[in-house]
Amino acid sequence: MAECLDFESLVTRYYEPLYKFAFSLARDESDACDLTQQTFCIWAAKGHQLRDPSKVKTWLFTTLHREFLGIRRKQTRFPHVELDQAEPELPVVSPAAISRHDTAHVLAALARLDEIYQAPVALFYLQDCSYNEIAEILQVPLGTVKSRLARGISRLQKLLGDETGGPRPEQTRL
């Protein structure tokens, strides 16, 4: 437990995944650094309140996400695209089309998703968290996480497919 709660060890273990999560949300290096640093700063102040050391990872990701949402709500400068709640068709974009996008483009498309989809999709692709951990981080039921992931992934691929231009690949009905 002491090892888990040691500040330096904690930073060493989690600063990279936290930064990547922060960057995928904020899309700005400076903002991502600030979010990561702020997360550890909050940990230093309040981490002792955490009883279960096995929850450190989800606590850190949850805190970072909350900080991000708090900042974004203050700034209200991030536009997002409202899409239909129902997504009956899965747009199929070819792997090659995705490869033509750079990371910034993909993250820009992620940022255009509705807020509730951004964090789960980012955590999904960063592959540092299981579904259960994503559910814990976002503090929503596992089923909700899975449905948000399904919609978020579909919409992200649709956005990327739309931006690729040219003839759309086939669309498959689920």
Partner: protein
């Protein structure tokens, strides 16, 4: 499980992760091995997932971020401890300032008041007021011995010297008065003149330590003054200052000196 259901399940499948251990995903993967269409869809899906995953993998962490987080936290702790130390120091400094202020006030203002009030004129005025406005005798007696004994007991001036005229005057009692935190012995006499029914004395001698007056008369010097209807005579003898008062004029008081 249908192919459509399997696609919905496999949409969340991340190749190379523990997702395959999920029972639903494991079932869908099993189905994909039997269904060529699903197998092709899965192959494309995995390629898309990997392509997207590659984009997220390209997010690079700035060099020095870890060291920055650790060093800034260390600096924060130092700042906090310095802030706490400064807060404690500030509280102690404020306390010290209050103490110094109180000391200054008590050593300058209050003593100045004492010094300013410590004059013969004020003393004379105040004792005349005691005699005229009424007083309660602590001890009523016509015997001088119990009066001295009482004053000794009360640690008030008791080794006073009486003039021959006062020794002959009829003593009626005594009281201990206070003045500037110093005890004053008050010995009451009768001049022999007729007194109103509620009055037992008409001649009063006040004795106080000389040190309590900043402008006490020199030895052998007599100061006679009228105060509030009383005629008073003040003189110093030894370490005591005597104040004698009665109604009348200077000739009246001089009869008892």
């Amino acid at each position: 499980m249908t192919v459509t259901e399997a696609k919905a399940i496999l949409l969340l499948y991340r190749p190379g992760t523990a997702d395959a251990e999920d029972p639903q995903i494991a079932g869908a993967l099993t189905l994909a091995k039997r269904e060529p269409e699903l197998a092709r869809w899965l192959e494309d899906h995995c390629a898309r997932q990997e392509a997207l995953r590659a984009k997220f993998r390209k997010i690079t962490v700035p060099a020095g971020l870890k060291e920055q987080i650790i060093s800034e936290q260390a600096a924060r702790i130092v700042t906090l401890s310095r802030h706490r130390r400064n807060t404690v120091f500030a509280a102690l400094a404020a306390l010290a300032a209050v103490v110094i202020l109180l000391i200054v006030m008590s050593s300058s203002w209050l003593p100045r008041r004492q010094i300013e009030d410590n004059t013969l004129a004020i003393y004379r005025n105040q004792m005349a007021g005691v005699a005229l406005r009424g007083y309660g005798m602590d001890l009523t007696t016509n015997d001088p011995a119990p009066i001295r004994a009482y004053l000794v007991q009360k640690q008030a001036p008791s080794d006073f010297v009486l003039s021959a005229a006062l020794q002959k005057a009829a003593v009626t009692g005594c009281a201990v008065e206070g003045w500037q935190n110093v005890k004053v012995s008050m010995i009451c006499f009768r001049t022999g003149r007729p007194l109103p029914p509620n009055q037992s004395s008409d001649l009063w001698l006040f004795v106080v330590d000389r040190a309590s007056l900043k402008d006490a008369p020199e030895n052998g010097q007599l100061r006679i003054a009228a105060n509030k209807g009383l005629i008073t005579a003040v003189w110093t003898q030894g370490d005591k200052v005597y104040l004698l008062g009665t109604e009348g004029d200077e000739s009246t008081i001089r009869k008892f000196l």
